[in-house]
Symmetry: C2
Subunit: 198 residues, 2 copies
């Protein structure tokens, strides 16, 4: 793949995350790369397709993280735990993907409801299968397990996108407090889900 293409995706991902689909212009993205907006149109055709490509790449990244060789050797419980810890860790270092994910959640509200073609679906489905392989979850319905997974991923996302606000409101030490507290709380949430809220 082209080098420029990836650079465009990087810049677009960052900007879409920061300001949303409508808040970013092609010229805007191009400017940060020192190219013209027609370079973007050359590679992706339209703004929507560029946006879609960004989502695609993220979706694939998530799936890859779930399917590493190291992951396959673990028991389902530990696989889920390990993946979610890693997710939370990455999100707290850089929340831009979470911001994009949540924006997509908001914007997609009409489309998703009918189309069922959400770009995170494959990833969430895969994670759902991991959960269903866990002890106590083998009898659960798909919808039930899916919702549990959704809750786990969502909690991490919401925490991640709140970082700037919490730092602004509570200061540096206030944010450290919630980081620590949330880490503990998140482990408890995983426990609760794995034991199926019993």
């Amino acid at each position: 793949m082209s080098d420029t293409r990836d650079q465009i995706l990087d810049a677009a991902e960052q900007q879409f995350a920061d300001r949303g689909f409508y808040g970013v212009s092609l010229a805007n993205i191009a400017e940060t790369l020192g190219v013209t907006k027609q370079a973007l149109l050359h590679h992706f055709g339209t703004k929507e397709r560029l946006y879609g490509s960004v989502l695609d790449r993220i979706s694939k990244d998530f799936l890859n993280a779930l399917h590493t060789e190291q992951m396959q050797t673990l028991e389902p419980e530990e696989q889920l735990r390990s993946f979610l810890r890693d997710l939370l860790d990455r999100s707290s270092r850089d929340a831009s993907r979470d911001r994009l994910l949540v924006r997509e959640l908001l914007d997609n509200s009409e489309r998703a409801a009918e189309a069922c073609a959400w770009y995170m679906r494959d990833f969430l489905d895969a994670l759902t299968q991991v959960l269903k392989a866990c002890h106590g979850w083998d009898q659960a319905t798909d919808a039930e397990a899916f919702c549990a997974v959704y809750q786990l991923v969502g909690a991490a996302s919401y925490y991640a996108i709140s970082e700037p606000t919490l730092t602004g409101l509570g200061g540096e030490e206030g944010y450290r407090a919630i980081t620590e507290q949330f880490g503990r709380q998140y482990e408890l949430l995983i426990d609760a889900v794995l034991s199926r809220y019993r």
Copy 2:
């Protein structure tokens, strides 16, 4: 207050919630009301001020809900519980305010960090005081209590904005499942916070 003014705020709130600040044009809002966009500019001056007025109204509504006479008669614990149940109930019937709140959270990430002037601050501060009046929380720092409150309000919001996606992905029965499950889980979260994660 003018009747039109409130109608404009209603329409603007809905549209900003659905499509975000940049996704909505003044002409767009005006069209749904059968007026010209200059009517909006007459009342609010600029698009930003209109948006700010929408947020202001929401902030005041939240504060009012917290300061009803009925609320004042309750013990702090029950006051918090009652308010949060009501919040969750309203959010699950109409998530537009939650969508707006989360969008603001995303967009404000740069501004909020420095300015500390988030429009929900007063409301969250007030709720924080309620929590600090609860048994076991009187010794906690402001930041600690604030973070706990933030977590409670955020959990409800995230649930609310997920409704369309979950309905789309899991179908009607899948959504009913998570609604029920989330209601239970939310009570547990409130319990956990009130007992200070012990």
